[in-house]
């Protein structure tokens, strides 16, 4: 696994050498985001609205997924000026997206000092075979997954956080539900297998045996699991949490709605009290227009972002 751990005894004159970029500080960063909402923002003003509403982090990008869908063309990493602007506008963590397999975009994002890199299917993949080697970075990565095997392949490549892919920019939660149920279901199935069966299970999942055996034992991913892709309402966020997501990403759902500040704050409340229908009901009142949304079963295959990555 990754890098060193400090073991020498510290003193005031000669403090123990700090170890940066370890698996523990990368995964530990995601642990600190749990129970929270990470919001897509495209300007410093939106970033401030998100922070005001109680977001635990923002995802800086040039266009929200709904607009990427509308505009078409190749979607790439955002302009560094725009990311810098958002980093200086807020005090909470800032994430940004690189294309799948575009490790140079990831290097650039690391040099800008973002707190997390999302190697994201929402952007146009740069490599149709390989994802980036995430162990080689100090900045941690979050990656999308539609099933357990995919999640484990990303973790094997060094991802320190996993999110469902869902179907970004649709305002339709159906795919996120499918992916989360799939991941949780496959974990539950592993729990029931004996040691002899785990080797075949690893082969089926196309994932490293060590990770498969670990999950069979612990019953959870070794990294934090969030939901993403299609959350548009407080009830959507609470649904994902009740299904086992430890927090939620909200993309187009906030800033494509009628009253972003109010909706953002409402989704934060519902994410914390995800198991209290009264709080969710109160949070759902008078939010104005939700984003219109797209029915996923009418989406042409080529426009399904969840199919990107493997």
């Amino acid at each position: 696994m990754s890098t060193t751990s400090a073991s020498t005894s510290p003193s005031a004159e000669n403090p123990a050498a700090p170890a940066t970029g370890t698996a523990r500080v990368k995964r530990g960063m995601a642990e600190q985001l749990k129970g929270g909402v990470i919001m897509d923002v495209v300007t410093p003003e939106e970033a401030k609205i998100a922070e005001d509403a109680g977001a635990v982090a923002v995802m800086a990008l040039e266009r929200v997924p709904a607009d990427i869908r509308k505009d078409g063309g190749v979607a790439r990493m955002s302009d560094p000026d725009m990311i810098d602007g958002i980093i200086s506008a807020v005090s909470i963590p800032v994430m940004a997206k690189s294309r799948i397999g575009h490790f140079v975009e990831a290097q650039v994002l690391q040099s800008l000092g973002v707190d997390y890199i999302d190697e994201s299917e929402v952007l146009t993949p740069a490599d149709e075979v390989n994802h980036s080697d995430k162990w080689s970075f100090t900045t941690p990565f979050v990656c999308g997954a539609t099933n357990l095997g995919e999640a484990l392949r990303r973790i094997a490549e060094g991802a320190a956080m996993i999110r469902s892919k869902g179907e970004a920019g649709t305002g339709n939660v159906v795919e996120a539900v499918r992916h989360l149920r799939q991941i949780k279901g496959e974990i539950a199935r592993l729990r029931g297998l004996d040691n002899h069966e785990l080797y075949a299970a690893a082969k089926e999942l196309r994932a490293p045996y060590e990770l498969v055996a670990e999950i069979a034992q612990t019953g959870k991913l070794p990294v934090v699991l969030f939901s993403a892709g299609g959350v548009a309402t407080p009830a959507d966020a609470a649904l994902m949490r009740q299904l086992g997501a430890e927090g939620v990403f909200v993309g187009s759902g906030i800033f494509k709605s009628g009253d972003p500040a109010k909706r953002a704050a409402a989704i934060v409340k519902a994410t914390t009290f995800y198991d209290d229908p009264k709080v969710i009901a109160d949070a759902s009142r008078d939010l104005g227009e939700a984003m219109v949304g797209i029915n996923c079963d009418t989406l042409p295959e080529a426009e399904r972002y969840a199919n990107r990555g493997w």
């Binding site: 510290p10 123990a16 170890a19 523990r24 500080v25 749990k34 129970g35 635990v56 005090s91 963590p93």
Partner: protein, 199 residues
Amino acid sequence: MSETPQTPLVGVLALQGDVREHLAALTAAGAQARPVRRPEELAEVDGLVIPGGESTTMSKLAVIFGLLEPLRERIRAGMPVYGTCAGMIMVADKILDGRDDQETLGGIDMIVRRNAFGRQNESFEAAVDIKGIDGGPVEGVFIRAPWVESVGAAAEVLATYGDHVVAVRQGNVLATSFHPELTGDHRVHALFVEMAQRA
């Protein structure tokens, strides 16, 4: 310690953050542990951990859900509290580099600087010696961590890293910049459980 030590019921403030890790560490350290999100849940616990997380989010949610005053009142009345990272910020009487509207609970006469060790790329692990904890240094996991800029006379410095104070205790309130809950070492939690037992 009293003649017949009771198992204390320790809450973990569960508005946001790494709640599960604290619940596990407290249980391993011999406490009964449960999440706290409501004033009536707060009223039932003997002590409280304020976890790591995003302090601006926690502060906002504590205000919205009516927990701020009940928390301040319990702390004033002497309830044992342990804050890690964001939790350290929450128990500081004064903070720097916070949001203008950011509320803290107070409890330790100290000034804490938020995100003082830097952004995530500067997050690090290093061994830290803590006063009152035997058996060698603990593994300090510092994540976008705060440090203590200055402490008042009533507060006792328990640990430093380099030039910076990273663990402090004042009466029944304990705070660390780092995250013992992310390691398998439960000595800091054991110290806190003992504080909760004695209170």
